[in-house]
């Protein structure tokens, strides 16, 4: 059983009387890809925001390699920020429009420190080529790139500081299907190559199945179900999970028509 990198225990986030998160607990183990699935308002984005410090939880504990982040020293927090990187959902707003790609990619290394100019350039060029971009792209601005390319830039930015964990907040939701496939394949490849641990937040169950080995299902801030993808998708215990799985459309005309006919018959019986 691999090391628990991030432990979330009893995470609760309240806005006045509204609970965005209620007693959410899960573990992120080294080397795995964990999916966090939910609809809008499920609190899945709030979880990530608490993990990176963009939001403060009302109660509950977040620990990195056993160290409670709330009680961590400055040095430990710095290490956490280096080890844990994030990919945002919207490729159109997560890159500073006034910085060149070169500047965008260099920033994390400059902030974290400890990379000489030559090392920085080497890392950037290596990752650039590995993710299918070219050196001449470095002097360009984000506006010159498509959504898929911008996400690749965002991924490179995250990988420059050699992180251990990637927190992905719906990184492919805003992309076209064909581009989505490219980025998913890239994430898979990078994960295997670099031994990354990934927390993948999404609403698309099929995407989560493609990438993740374990999954946590979130509904209105509560963990409905958690387990391996096979367990949860194959034999869902929670009614909510079953509803979600039922609602997924498959690109199979006959099957879909049959399912719809069955549903409509049930509805007509009520009318």
């Amino acid at each position: 059983m691999s090391e628990v990198l991030i432990e979330v225990a009893g995470l609760t986030k309240r806005f006045g009387i509204l609970s965005a998160l209620d007693n959410v607990s899960f573990e992120l183990r080294a080397g795995e890809v964990l999916g966090l699935v939910g609809e809008s308002g499920s609190g899945k984005s709030t979880v990530i925001r608490c993990l990176v410090g963009l939001a403060q939880q009302t109660s509950g504990r977040i620990a990195y390699r056993g160290i409670d982040l709330a009680a961590a020293t400055a040095a430990e927090r710095r290490q956490y920020r280096r080890d844990v990187q994030m990919i945002f959902q919207d490729p159109y707003s997560s890159l500073d429009p006034r910085m060149t790609v070169q500047q965008i990619l260099e920033e994390p290394m400059l902030v974290v420190g400890g990379f000489s100019a030559r090392q920085r350039q080497e890392r950037i060029l290596h990752l650039l080529h590995r993710l299918g971009l070219k050196e001449e792209h470095l002097s360009r601005y984000p506006k010159h790139f498509s959504g898929g390319q911008r996400q690749r830039i965002a991924i490179i930015r995250a990988l420059t500081v050699e992180p251990k964990v990637l927190l992905c907040d719906e990184p492919v939701s805003a992309l076209d299907v064909s581009v989505q496939a490219q980025v998913l394949n890239l994430l898979r490849d990078m994960q295997k190559e670099l031994g990354l641990t990934i927390l993948f937040v999404a609403h698309d169950l099929a995407v989560v199945k493609y990438l993740c080995s374990r999954v946590v299902v979130l509904h209105h801030g509560i963990v409905e179900e958690a387990g391996t993808v096979d367990e949860v998708y194959g034999a869902p215990k929670a009614a909510y999970t079953r509803e979600l799985l039922d609602a997924v459309a498959e690109p199979d005309p006959q099957a879909e028509r049959a399912r719809r006919a069955a549903r409509l018959k049930r509805l007509a019986a009520i009318r």
Partner: protein
């Protein structure tokens, strides 16, 4: 069209602006206004040297001459050439307005930046202060301030900067607040970038566009207000050739020697109109009409 053969256009405000204003398809009105602004700015710098006569030379014999061959725009009651004074006044009026806008923008942006970075209580305090300033009509405020200072153009400039920075501060703070919540700023925050660096490196540069727009729109009104204050007599004393003072000097002769007040009045109108149109064009162009890469 892929990334590799897309035209590499600049991201800077001035770059985009020049392309849009000078490129094909710019509205005629905008281009005319831009040309006019160009002329005005040139005159603001070299105006005095182009004057055919000495703007300050008194010549009783030639007083109250109507516009004609010798004096194209006529002369005033002391024989000074109106055209020459107009040209001499160009830098006074226009550059003063520019100075006011630049000054109030710098102070306003500074205060807004401090407010954005500051803890909540300081932010609130600063904003309440600016609101107090904003509740007083700027003309009245400026007048009050000039009363304290010796009458001169410099006093007007200082008074107006004091009267106008709160508006800039307010607008800039709202822009900064919004920019600071952008995803890319959050991304930098997660990396561990300090709030100061977030402001200087990310938020401010991305807010500049909106700040430029606000400043360019202010310029037009500022020209009018400076002239207004000078007209009211709180500017430099009589021989001053700024356009507002010129109108005041010609007041008594409005029915007989109408040219003394008319031409400076026209000049102010044209300048305000031209700068206003350009400011408006800048605002329109800056609107996100084609934001994302295709």
């Amino acid at each position: 069209m892929t990334i590799d053969n897309a035209p590499f256009d600049r991201v800077s405000f001035v770059g985009v602006l020049s392309r849009r204003l000078f490129g094909r398809g710019g509205p005629v009105v905008d281009r005319l206004a831009l040309v006019m602004v160009g002329i005005l700015l040139v005159l603001a710098v070299v105006g005095p040297w182009l004057a055919p006569h000495d703007p300050y030379a008194v010549d009783p014999i030639a007083s109250l001459e109507p516009p004609g061959a010798a004096y194209w725009l006529g002369t005033d009651d002391t024989g000074r050439d109106v055209l020459s004074r107009l040209l001499a006044g160009a830098p006074l009026t226009i550059l003063s307005a520019v100075a006011v806008v630049v000054g109030s923008t710098i102070i306003g942006v500074f205060v807004a930046s401090v407010a954005t970075l500051a803890p909540r209580w300081l932010d609130d305090a600063l904003m309440r202060c600016t609101e107090i300033f904003l509740s007083i009509p700027s003309l009245v405020l400026a007048l009050g301030l000039t009363a304290v200072l010796r009458p001169s153009l410099t006093s007007i400039i200082i008074a107006m900067v004091m009267a106008l920075w709160p508006a800039t501060a307010r607008i800039t703070r709202n822009i900064l607040r919004e920019t600071m919540t952008s995803a890319y700023v959050e991304a930098a925050k997660i990396m561990g970038v300090s709030r100061l660096r977030l402001m200087l490196r990310h938020a401010l540069p991305n807010s500049l566009d909106a700040i430029y727009v606000h400043a360019s729109m202010e310029l037009s009104g500022t020209i009018v207000m400076i002239s207004g204050l000078a007209f009211l007599g709180v500017g430099a004393p009589p021989p001053s050739a700024d356009w507002g003072s010129m109108i005041a000097q010609g007041q008594d002769f409005i029915t007989t020697a109408w040219w003394i007040s008319l031409f400076p009045g026209l000049a102010i109108t044209v300048a305000a109109l031209a700068f206003g149109l350009v400011g408006d064009a800048i605002r329109r162009i800056n609107d996100p009409t084609s934001g994302r890469a295709q």
